[in-house]
């Protein structure tokens, strides 16, 4: 909003503009004493100006409720908004259950585990599942896949996409007989077309790319998930200055959270494991250290339990810690077969 259009007196407007304050936004961070000094007016008058201006801009932005801080939202409004959000399914119902319905948009979710546990599989599965159309309870979005390790296999993505397409066809045959019978089935190739793939070869490239994502998502508003496989790879080598690493990672975490919040996309960060020495013994922990452990909103650890794969919620502000079995099949991530058997037996 421009100063000229604000509800101030003409002389005040003149003083503001001659001091260089052409837009009201410029006034938001100015202290009254500073303004008084610059405009050569009394502090009381400066306070009056700032008050009028902030009232005006507030009524312009949010008319529903007056908040104490500009741009804030009350918890109630946020709750209403959150209840309408659709989550991204993992294709395993047990896994979805402990996540409260799937991977949440607007949040950063970190998934870590030992090699071969299925991190990349889960990443590809999410990149496909995000494209399930609204009619089928999905998001109808697109995916960004950032590959730092070179482990993204396009043949595998095709397999998972085919299986997903088959599942959707079956769903429509079962639940809406004759309704959309002649509906065009989404081709597996269409799934692949909607995955934007970036290959990253060094940590500087990784930082540059994450800075660029803001612009990319502005241009591609239908992107609903960003998958980084893995965040760790380039940060585990070539680093002498560990303080620099902590700073870079901290900054990157904030940028990812900002993306998640600003565009309502789900950010999924895959992480490797490392051994950690504590209480006189070594045990497995996610890589990148203690500071990084604060970076993600949700933290899920994938681990082996006997012959079964399990997902465990290590950290979440809203979910209870819980674990669930899952399996990796030819079709992608699915429920654990032993679990199904158990249900059938009951």
């Amino acid at each position: 909003m421009e100063v000229l259009k604000s509800p101030l007196s003409a002389s005040q407007k003149g003083k503001l503009i001659s001091a260089g304050y052409t837009s009201i936004n410029l006034l938001s961070s100015v202290s009254p004493s500073h303004l008084a000094l610059e405009l050569k007016i009394s502090e009381a008058e400066a306070l009056e100006i700032l008050k009028t201006v902030s009232d005006g801009s507030r009524s312009e932005s949010t008319s529903t409720s007056c908040t104490i801080v500009k741009g804030a939202q009350s918890a109630w409004d946020m709750l209403q908004e959150e209840e309408t959000l659709v989550r991204i399914t993992t294709s395993s119902s047990d896994f979805d259950n402990i996540l409260g319905g799937g991977i949440s948009c607007k949040e950063v979710t970190e998934i870590g585990g030992v090699p071969g546990i299925g991190k990349t599989q889960l990443g590809i599965q999410l990149a496909v599942n995000v494209q399930i159309p609204f009619d089928y309870g999905g998001l109808g979005g697109k995916a960004i896949y950032i590959d730092t390790e070179g482990s993204f296999m396009v043949e595998r993505a095709l397999q998972i996409a085919e299986a997903c397409g088959d599942d959707m066809a079956e769903y429509s045959r079962l639940y809406r007989k004759g309704f959309h019978s002649h509906e065009v089935k989404i081709q597996p190739k269409d799934f692949l077309e909607n995955i934007f793939y970036f290959r990253v070869c060094s940590y500087t490239e990784q930082i540059a790319l994450i800075n660029y994502l803001d612009k990319f998502i502005t241009d591609h508003k239908d992107v609903k998930v960003v998958i980084i496989d893995s965040i760790t790879f380039h940060f585990r080598q070539d680093f002498d200055d560990m303080a620099l690493r902590t700073r870079l990672l901290g900054g990157m975490a904030l940028k990812l959270m900002k993306l998640a919040r600003k565009f309502g996309v789900a950010v999924v960060v895959l992480n490797q494991v490392t051994t950690k020495y504590s209480d006189g013994s070594f045990h497995l922990a996610l890589a990148l250290g203690d500071s990084w452990s604060h970076a993600s909103t949700n933290r899920i650890i994938l681990h082996w339990n006997g012959n079964e794969r399990y997902a465990y919620i290590d950290k979440s502000p809203s979910l209870r810690s819980a674990s669930a079995p899952y399996s990796v099949t030819g079709k992608g991530i699915r429920d654990s077969p032993s679990n199904n058997k158990r249900i059938k037996n009951i």
Binding site: S31, S33, A72, Q73, D290, P317
Partner: protein
């Protein structure tokens, strides 16, 4: 205060001549005058022809500046201020309140430290829900995308359900008292806090803010701290003083969370280093006892008038 020029109209002794004399020594504003050595200025004025008049001007300026300090208070007045304006805010769990002799104190900056998933955010939610149910306003600055309205709703329902028969509108009203702002860099946070301060100054008493929560402060500061970055350090300290000022002037309890880093010998210590350490009045360390239960432990690391080292366990619903 402002430029010396602005005083010209009020005090006739400060005339163009005097201003020129000051300007020749690099003094343009009252701040410049304050950091300048007065006796040096007097000595240099002596050498000039109109020294008497210049000296009068200098004395006048000294008098003006002397009236600008904060008024003094005696111990009794401070105690009265404590008792009347600085209330305790209940944390919502009894043993926690007993440990702190009543809860979080208005006028204090309280810091929660602990490793990841030690219950820091949960304690923030619980205190916020508790204040909101008593119709106090809460401003929540969220830097980790961890603000979960669903979880707040659970807590509000839990607290109100156990105390009195709740009406359905009560939950909505309480949740309207909590407002959340996502912040992802320290500049935005400083901006918002300045704005908040301004609003509080000009606001009538009917809508009072009782609690400010920043979860977490360390994730905002960590990326700018360290190396040869002296500016990051300055930003951190000015943020600390702004929080202290807000809490003292407007009787607000400030709650911030900080993470932990490994110190010497692999033991954990609060992050952000020595210069942050003297900013919070109260520092509490949290830990989770077993990953499967919801029982947490709290331990006093630092408190202005209580012995450190005491600890209790508490439960989060």
């Amino acid at each position: 205060m402002g430029a010396l020029k602005s005083l010209e109209e009020v005090y006739h002794i400060i005339d163009a001549n005097f201003l020129q004399f000051c300007a020749s020594r690099g003094i343009f504003s009252v701040e410049d005058f304050l950091v300048h050595d007065v006796s040096m200025l007097m000595a240099s004025a002596d050498k000039l022809s109109n020294s008497d008049r210049l000296k009068q001007g200098i004395n006048q300026l000294v008098l003006i500046t002397e009236t600008y300090h904060q008024p003094w208070m005696n111990g009794l007045m401070l105690l009265e201020d404590r008792e009347q304006n600085k209330h305790y805010i209940s944390t919502g769990s009894e043993s926690f309140d007993v440990l702190l002799q009543g809860g979080l104190r208005e006028g204090h900056v309280t810091e929660l430290v602990g490793p990841s998933s030690s219950g820091k955010t949960q304690v923030c939610f619980q205190v916020a829900s508790n204040v909101a149910l008593k119709k106090g306003n809460v401003v929540f600055f969220d830097s980790g995308n961890s603000f979960s309205p669903t979880r707040i709703k659970q807590m509000v329902t839990h607290i109100s359900g156990s105390e009195e028969n709740k009406v359905n509108g009560g939950v909505e009203e309480a949740m309207r008292h909590i407002e959340c702002h996502a912040v992802f860099d320290i500049y935005t946070l400083l901006d918002l806090l300045h704005q908040l301060k301004l609003n509080l100054k000009s606001q009538s008493q009917k809508k009072s803010t009782e609690l400010i929560i920043i979860d977490s402060i360390s994730s905002l500061i960590a990326p700018i701290l360290g190396g040869s970055n002296a500016q990051g350090h300055a930003l951190m300290v000015s943020l600390g003083y702004l929080l202290k000022d807000l809490s003292h002037q407007h009787n607000i309890a400030v709650l911030v969370t900080n993470h932990m880093v490994s110190g010497e010998g692999g033991s954990l210590k609060p992050a952000l280093g020595e210069s942050w350490r003297n900013i919070p009045h109260v520092q509490l360390q949290l830990s989770q006892h077993h990953t499967t239960t919801n029982i947490y432990g709290v331990y006093i690391l630092r408190h202005p008038y209580m012995a450190s080292g005491k600890s209790v366990n508490f439960m989060i619903p």
